[in-house]
Symmetry: C3
Subunit: 351 residues, 3 copies
């Protein structure tokens, strides 16, 4: 499906964010991920687990059921499944067949997030997770905090496209975090397997509105913006601002260093789950940013949902006129498509 | 469609409940039954009738029109149809062609219900209706009363499946009418053409919560629960409770005898109409039950609608792991499928 | 699609009303017309223009963007398009390719309306627009005024069918503008290419309720009703009332002369835009009519939407029993189908 080949929905073998870690507890959390119902919870010993969200008996949603110890007891006929997916009780009979079970999914707590692997479990490799030091979550002096989770009524790639082309800051977010230089400054790209990075180095430009709004600084700044895409669904953004080199008092000194984290997880073909988090050296400033960025992120949600509606009218294969700043987004799409193609080939060979 | 073969929707030749009799009067009642628009009303002489709900001229809903004598006058261009379906007036012309008519459907008032036959009218046989004495509506000392009608946003068979497997009382209705014995007691089945019956005989078990809530009794009881399925869409349930045989004062005496009636009528492929009624020896107790059972029935509606949503995500052919208590539901599905297959063969032969 | 042949949606080469002229200004107006997103606005010099409503870069709705001078600046990445459709700015690069553009559509202000031509621009001929004198907009003594615009959730032809068969006044609008004679009086039709006209001459009949409601007259009247269909989507209606020839004081004198204008513009396959306007010699009376006719037009909207819902249940090819007064509607459908067939043939030959 657009912007991928017909029949290509999403990469299966990869880590997706299923939840913020602090969302997980003894209440069942139901999510649809890669078009599969999933239930997330913590066992009594605190371990976070993910299992299939459908009772195989009558398809009742296990996410609308309840926990008894470490087992989910289906709210319909009381069939119970352990955290290993194995059925542990069928109330109406004495024997529980070995084959009676639900899927389980590798789930890893790493940084602020619980990461799920919806594909072949034997390929789930924690070495493929983003390095926490690299993305700044555990970097010295930085404090990271989950901000928002929301369901977006648009296909996930529209949001990935958004994050892979930060020139949109100059317009969609012109009143808050962007300036015209976000579109105009040249962009440097770095690519390695499963990773795609872009940077813009902006010199002596007006500070974006957020700087004045937060009472920090209203003059000219040097700025580094960029986004590191850890395929298939995680983006770590960088937003560093410094006094310009010719500033009379603080030449080149850092004003603020922050990291933003966008995780985009495919839900259904027409919707996704969007997780936003932030890390900063300025812990107090985070409360301000929590309120300030909410409408900014809503602009991205708005754009995504409006485009989904547009596709519903004009169909799945719209003409598309690419421009130079699309290099990064196009590369991201290509890499995802290549991963999907490889998965399809493997599945065909295995069959 | 699930859980039937692809292309199989519902049995056509059979009596379905179209309405409670007390719903019918001189106001037009519009229902969608077996994916056909239907209008129900009483003629001036009180006779209840059912006709097609679409004006064949411009497809305006006759259910949104009005009655003039025994005829429905279409609200759009005034074309009028008698209770026999025959057009009786086309205001813009003098002659009414014989061929100008709408369908009529056999409709029989029987017990609390008005039963409709959507298939071949010449096969409509009142002998196929449930025997009122047998189901307890007219049994000595019993009073029957219609309770609720509601549209359920789920395919009808999900609700039939629900009613054919009463082990769900032990979980979905654990806080009201069920106890664990509803799942654990052995089930006895009886099958004859067009009829499927199940019974559980529970001895010396805790009374369900409803007994204490209604101020009747809170100790151990003997209990008979069961459901008689009169195919294709009517279930008569039995819920008798008695003091246990070893009760010091009333050994084996009846506490309460009641019958419940669930009619499930296919509306569209993804929705059905659900009629619930009750009969009891305890007339005063019925008011209490009317309020008490409403949220209980909502649990069944909830389960049905949640499963319909689940099927929308995972598709029409979900893996299904059956258990022993599914015997009755599976038998019910088989009998319905066999009826649909026979109808299809007959239609093919006739063509 | 019904009531046209499968695959036939709507005539492309023809003038449709895109907006009332007074809707157009310096705010972007987004409409879906013939299943295409369109944006309408006035240039700084006042000229009204229509361009495609989708940014070809990422499909963001240009109707949710903003104007800068005569150019629309996409709200997502700031790409700007002039009123001639040509891209005038891509903020992230210096060069704008010639091929970077959006569609433009001929748009003509004529009477109360802005008319759009969605088909081949070289065929857009203003001579095909309705003659303003003929339809009464510029006739001596007449004042014309736009009344309502609304989106109707039904396919456009249901509304055309409605307007091509005024016998519905006798029933759908029995409480306001119709009397039984609207169905019973004989109808005279006139047909010429692209034009279809019907008239009913009603003599010595009760005045419709609107006459008493507006305090004009409550006795018998002579009345001329009719509708002129300017294909593919404009209807000019006539509603003249006079004292009967045998009136003691004012024999044959005109009571009121008015024209009504219904424009029906296909939006999506299941929805249309409905523009209603009026012209009258009685300017003060127009305020009354503005309020009075709103619920009357809602009856047409209701009928259209109910029929669309009916089609959703019963499918695209419903049996249809035509009557004599359908002559005009059937002729209108035939003429539209013939225009669509001709367009398809031309397209096939061109390919």
């Amino acid at each position: 499906m657009y912007p991928f080949r017909e029949g290509s929905f999403a990469v299966r073998n990869g880590w997706y964010v299923a939840a913020f870690r602090n969302e997980l507890g003894r209440d069942l959390l139901a999510r649809t991920i890669l078009n599969q119902p999933v239930v997330l919870y913590r066992k009594e010993d605190g371990e976070a687990v993910a299992v299939g969200g459908r009772c195989p008996h009558r398809h009742f949603p296990l996410g609308k059921s309840c926990l008894k110890g470490d087992a989910i007891v289906c709210g319909y006929h009381g069939i119970a499944f352990g955290a290993d997916g194995q059925c542990v009780d069928i109330p109406s009979q004495d024997v529980v067949p070995r084959a009676y079970k639900i899927p389980t999914y590798p789930l890893v707590e790493h940084g602020l997030w619980a990461w799920i692997w919806m594909g072949d479990a034997d390929k789930a490799d924690v070495a493929l997770l983003p390095d926490l030091e690299e993305i700044g979550v555990t970097a010295a002096g930085m404090t990271a905090r989950p901000f928002y989770v929301q369901e977006v009524q648009g296909r996930y790639q529209l949001l990935n496209d958004n994050l892979l082309d930060l020139s949109h800051l100059a317009f969609l977010h012109a009143s808050s975090i962007g300036t015209v230089e976000n579109a105009q400054a040249p962009e440097e790209l770095v690519k390695r397997p499963g990773f795609l990075s872009c940077r813009r180095y902006i010199r002596n430009a007006d500070a974006p509105a957020v700087m004045a709004a937060s009472g920090r600084y209203a003059g000219k700044i040097d700025r580094v913006t960029g986004m590191d895409f850890y395929l298939p669904g995680f983006h770590a953004g960088i937003g560093d601002m410094a006094y310009p080199q010719d500033h009379p008092e603080h030449p080149g000194e850092t004003i603020v260093t922050s990291r933003v984290y966008h995780a985009v997880t495919p839900a259904t073909p027409g919707s996704c789950i969007y997780f936003f988090a932030m890390a900063s050296e300025d812990v107090e400033g985070m409360d301000f940013m929590f309120d300030y960025l909410r409408p900014v992120l809503d602009e991205d949600k708005f754009a995504t949902e409006e485009i989904e509606k547009m596709l519903a009218i004009i169909g799945e294969n719209p003409d598309e006129l690419l421009i130079k700043t699309d290099r990064n987004a196009v590369e991201g799409r290509r890499m995802l498509q290549a991963m999907m193609d490889a998965e399809r080939r493997e599945a065909a060979e295995a069959a």
